[in-house]
């Protein structure tokens, strides 16, 4: 097993993961709309650009011009990264992405080879659901795709949208995407004292110990910042937290 770690782009997350992602592993970032999945993914690639680990961002959703603009607002000049061959932005469809030419190469294989990419982001897995495949076919397709990237030793982040904004029910996907990846990170809204906050949760981290606490995080002008764990509250994963019994007693006293 590969013990080499890859920085996530967030010092706090690296600490929570015991040093970063394992090289070649895949991580699912699941969250409701607006929780910062894409930002977290670009932060991962930005860290790669700094570490001389080129990256490819595959988007099924945003047009490149939108990505260039939004990333630039956070200080990431994707066009410059592209010019210096540290980055490629591919905007396509899942059908085209997984199609192979006569030599068995996909578009992603070509981009990886072209810039010697070490990091990949796929935004988002939800679009694979529109391929019209059965549940088992879809799982097989994605599992094969992930294995292929693992064999190339590229560290992969895939995003996936959770439709529920808040509430006790939270299903990651109908297709069990969470079982096809090594790690799962959940970004979710929580209601706390009539305020909507955001919780950063590492649900699964294969092959290593990790911080199991639920951390608050904020999205700033320069990206995501993970803060201290929530304290004296419970029920955060239900979306509607409440103070712990001890805290309520303390408040009464």
């Amino acid at each position: 097993m590969n013990e080499d770690r890859v920085e996530s782009g967030l010092v706090a997350l690296d600490k929570m993961l015991g040093g970063g992602y394992f090289r070649g592993d895949s991580t699912l970032i699941a969250g409701s709309p607006g929780t910062g999945k894409t930002t977290l993914a670009i932060q991962f690639l930005a860290s790669g650009v700094m570490d001389d680990e080129p990256g490819v961002f595959v988007t099924f959703e945003y047009l490149p011009q939108q990505m260039y603009r939004d990333a630039l607002a956070k200080g990431w000049d994707l066009k410059e990264w592209e010019k210096s061959n540290k980055f490629r932005l591919i905007c396509t469809t899942p059908e085209v992405l997984i199609a192979e030419d006569e030599k068995g190469n996909t578009l992603l294989d070509e981009a990886i080879k072209e810039i010697k990419a070490k990091r990949i982001v796929i935004d988002s897995l939800a679009h694979f659901e529109f391929l019209g495949l059965s549940q088992s076919e879809l799982r097989g397709t994605i599992a094969g795709f992930m294995n292929h990237l693992k064999l190339k030793e590229v560290t992969t982040l895939v995003t996936h949208e959770i439709p529920e904004i808040i509430g006790p029910v939270m299903r990651i996907s109908d297709f069990g995407f969470e079982f096809l990846v090594d790690n799962v990170i959940i970004l979710r809204y929580v209601e706390m004292e009539a305020e909507l906050k955001k919780a950063f949760i590492i649900l699964k981290f294969r092959g290593g110990d990790h911080d199991r606490k639920l951390h608050e995080y904020i999205t700033t002008k320069t990206g995501i910042e993970i803060e201290n764990p929530f304290q004296n509250v419970e029920g955060i994963t239900s979306g509607a937290s409440r103070k712990t019994a001890t805290q309520r007693a303390k408040d009464l006293i």
Binding site: Q65, V96, D101
Partner: protein, 111 residues
């Protein structure tokens, strides 16, 4: 490709390239979104146009070489060739310079 442009000449090249609003729209779209790799059907959806119209309008772009068609799996996809864009810019600059007899860059500024 360089031969293709020379054969056409500047006037014809610009005419072929820009004789409809949609042709210009497609060029601007790919200039702003060079990473788009899609089928004609996908491109039509992105542009909010019908497939037949888009198919007709991209023919000259493919002929000039700024858009390339390639087969991947059972699909024909379109890719944008940014180097062709730079080549065409250089060609336009050269043609203008020849005509004016002075150095003008493709974006219009006189040097």
């Amino acid at each position: 490709m360089a031969d293709e442009k020379s054969k056409l000449g500047l006037k014809k090249l610009v005419e072929v390239w820009t004789d409809s609003d949609l042709k210009i729209e497609i060029l601007v779209f790919f200039h702003n979104n060079p990473g788009v790799i899609d089928t004609v059907e996908g491109l039509a959806k992105r542009l909010g146009k019908t497939v037949d119209v888009v198919k007709h309008e991209i023919a000259d772009h493919i002929n000039i070489g700024i858009l390339k068609e390639r087969k991947i799996g059972d699909k024909i996809v379109l890719t944008y060739d940014k180097t062709q864009e730079q080549e065409i810019e250089a060609f336009i600059e050269e043609e203008i310079n020849k005509k004016l007899g002075c150095a003008v860059n493709a974006k219009g500024a006189q040097r």
